[in-house]
């Protein structure tokens, strides 16, 4: 999109519903935040009426609670337990099926129609997480065909963050609270006593085209300033922060830091952090057959480096201790990822902090290692030799 300033509009609360209806009419499956089981989750929605109007959340390490607001804001909360990963890299996916034949078997590749999805309310950190997953699953020699198919037609409506949660640290990771690119439309919700409207920026031609079908007015300089200052305030309210300078080297040289033992005493190896993480991409495959043994299939499921069998090779488990699994997870996310994919694997969404049943906080763990850089190395626990 050239000349972004000419693609900024204002849409009223009423017409915002129309925007979603328009996407639906255009054949998109609407996916967005909705209130379920006392949490704001991502699911199929029919329209703006299914958004969690008037709800917010309160988060802390190991805590997540939804709460009523005194207005009807549609997006005045932070990220919940779900991420868009569940629509792009499915939690469970049949990769192929095989039929037994007279002299062996025959493999049938899946050929499933993929819905055209519209993601409503993708936060800037999540937009970055999608870009990270794009790099992991489609940026190398091998392209994950199922992910690529789903991703290709996804229409992204970003919601710029007008408030920060207690576990947010997108500013530290350079991923938010305002997204500048990667979306079809980017929405800043403006709500106060006398107005409820959305400043919307089109990031692609498709986005501009959809927006053109909805009543709107061009954003004035004041509207735009208003939207900008809303996210600037958010940047100043970050609940957490992480010092990222030299973090890769910090973690490389602290593989034997005593903090890993300390965090292992608290970590339950429950896998929650990896399940809620929007960039964790590990999957396991399982081969199954029907009862008659005539049809076999391979199912791919989300896996976690906290599972014991994750590192199983004949003769044993490479990472039997929780210490080594936590170290693997955190070091992969913040250090190895740079070598593997050219960026951090962490986007600062804070989900792993809120959803850890033991309240383990990645920002606190890194700070503890940094505070005692090189601690424990001289104690000779370095190698087996």
């Amino acid at each position: 999109m050239q000349d972004r300033a000419n693609h900024r509009f204002v849409v009223t609360r009423h017409d915002f519903s129309m925007l979603l209806a328009t996407l639906r009419e255009r054949g998109y499956l609407l996916l967005g935040p909705t209130l379920r089981d006392q949490a704001i989750v991502y699911d199929e929605i029919n329209g703006a009426e299914d958004l969690p109007a008037g709800w917010t959340d309160e988060q802390e390490a190991g805590q997540y609670k939804v709460k009523r607001r005194d207005d009807n804001a549609l997006f005045a909360y932070n990220v919940g337990p779900h991420s868009w990963k569940k629509f792009l890299q499915l939690p469970s996916l049949t990769l192929w099926k095989a039929q037994k034949t007279d002299n062996g078997f025959k493999v049938e590749e899946r050929d499933e129609a993929t819905p055209r999805m519209a993601f409503i309310g993708v936060r800037p950190c999540e937009l970055r997480a999608i870009a990270v997953q794009d790099q992991v699953l489609t940026g190398g020699d091998h392209i994950d065909p199922d992910y690529a198919r789903r991703r290709k037609h996804a229409f992204i409506v970003t919601v710029q963050c007008t408030q920060a949660g207690n576990t947010c640290f997108c500013v530290s990771m350079g991923t938010g609270p305002r997204a500048e690119e990667g979306f079809d439309l980017a929405v800043t919700e403006i709500i106060d006593t006398h107005r409820h409207e959305f400043v919307i920026e089109a990031g692609t031609d498709t986005g501009a085209e959809i927006l053109a079908r909805v009543p709107h007015r061009s954003a004035s300089e004041a509207d735009w300033q208003n939207a900008q200052s809303a996210t600037q305030r958010t940047a100043e309210q970050m609940g957490r922060q992480i010092e990222t300078s030299g973090i890769r080297e910090l973690l490389y040289r602290n593989a034997e830091h005593p903090r890993w033992d300390e965090v292992a005493d608290r970590c339950l190896a429950c896998t929650n952090c990896t399940m809620v993480c929007p960039t964790c991409f590990c999957t396991a495959v399982e081969d199954v057959t029907d009862l008659a043994g005539q049809t076999a299939e391979r199912i791919q499921r989300w896996d976690s480096c906290f599972n014991s069998r994750y590192s199983y090779i004949h003769g044993g488990i490479v990472r039997p201790s929780t210490r080594s699994r936590y170290r693997q997870w955190l070091t992969h996310k913040l250090a190895y990822w740079h070598d593997q994919f050219g960026s951090s694997g962490c986007v600062g969404c804070g989900r792993c902090i809120s959803w850890c049943p033991a309240g383990i906080d990645i920002t606190e763990e890194v700070a503890a290692i940094r505070a005692n850089d090189g601690g424990g190395m001289e104690q000779g626990r370095k190698t087996n030799e």
Binding site: W96, F281, D287, R319, Q328, N384
Partner: protein
């Protein structure tokens, strides 16, 4: 990334727990070309898939050969399959041994147990292009005489005047007159110029660690030592995550690594 059905042409018992499968290649015209050190994923209908190094001769792509140790549900079933039975195959995958970089150098091959299988293709290659390499030594360690893999071939290589073959075992039986002890103890016998030697080693990690230490001691630096690593592998394309070893994915960045490139992780416990 789906397995190609292929039939078993030959199944040969090697030791009590190892066997060699010769498979028909998926492409019956071209065969399956591979670089020594690469592996494939072998699929047993409805049961699962296992990563297995190719142990055949790279000059004969029509013969797809794997030597397998029966250790899990898939490999134990494979051990008892019949000629003509079908398996699935994907691959080849990964980075192999440095046969090009090694030209003109002294070569030391150090293998432990079934670790000889991924090295056999490179031995075939070295012997075929014998004139391109200087002194060649093969050091092999097994648990006991009955566990010596490819014993006939080791004997025949040992009978050549242009290759030194040494075999040692951990536990001697009364009919064993050879060396007893760890494979690294054989290094003292090796004739090589440490400054122009390439070492290729595959075996248990503990063996490779001690080998590296001894090699460093005799003046062979990490840049000239290549190790074949093993981790859990499922996708073989670097996307399932299981084979991570520090920042490397063993399935695509390895399984063969130049030691200096993984040195920070080599020997770190539970990495």
């Amino acid at each position: 990334m789906v397995p190609h059905p292929v039939s078993i042409r030959e199944l040969q018992r090697e030791t009590h727990d190892t066997f060699t499968l010769t498979l028909e290649p998926p492409d019956r015209d071209q065969g399956l070309s591979f670089i020594p050190g690469q592996f494939t994923m072998l699929y047993l209908f409805g049961t699962g898939e296992v990563p297995i190094s190719i142990s055949g001769d790279p000059a004969y792509p029509m013969r797809l050969v794997h030597t397998i140790r029966a250790v899990g549900s898939v490999t134990r079933t494979m051990q008892h399959m019949q000629r003509g039975s079908m398996l699935g195959v994907r691959g080849p995958f990964g980075k192999g041994w440095p046969v090009e970089e090694a030209r003109g150098k002294d070569i030391v091959i150090i293998a432990g147990g079934i670790g000889l299988a991924p090295l056999r293709p490179v031995i075939y290659h070295l012997l075929r292009e014998r004139g391109d390499y200087e002194h060649i030594s093969i050091l092999y360690g097994a648990r006991c005489p009955a566990d010596i893999l490819y014993s006939r071939e080791l004997e025949s290589w040992g009978g050549r005047f242009d290759v030194d073959v040494s075999v040692t075992i951990d536990y001697a039986t009364t009919d064993w007159y050879g060396d007893v002890g760890v494979v690294t103890s054989l290094l003292d016998k090796v004739r090589c110029d440490p400054g122009k030697t390439v070492v290729m080693t595959c075996g248990p990690e503990i063996m490779m660690r001690f080998a590296a230490r001894e090699l460093n001691r005799i003046g062979i630096t990490d840049e000239h030592i290549y190790v074949s690593m093993e981790r859990n592998m499922q996708c073989a394309a670097g996307t399932c995550g299981h084979c991570q070893y520090g920042p490397s994915f063993v399935c695509k960045d390895g399984p063969v690594f130049r030691l200096d490139r993984i040195r920070p992780f080599f020997g770190t416990r539970e990495i």
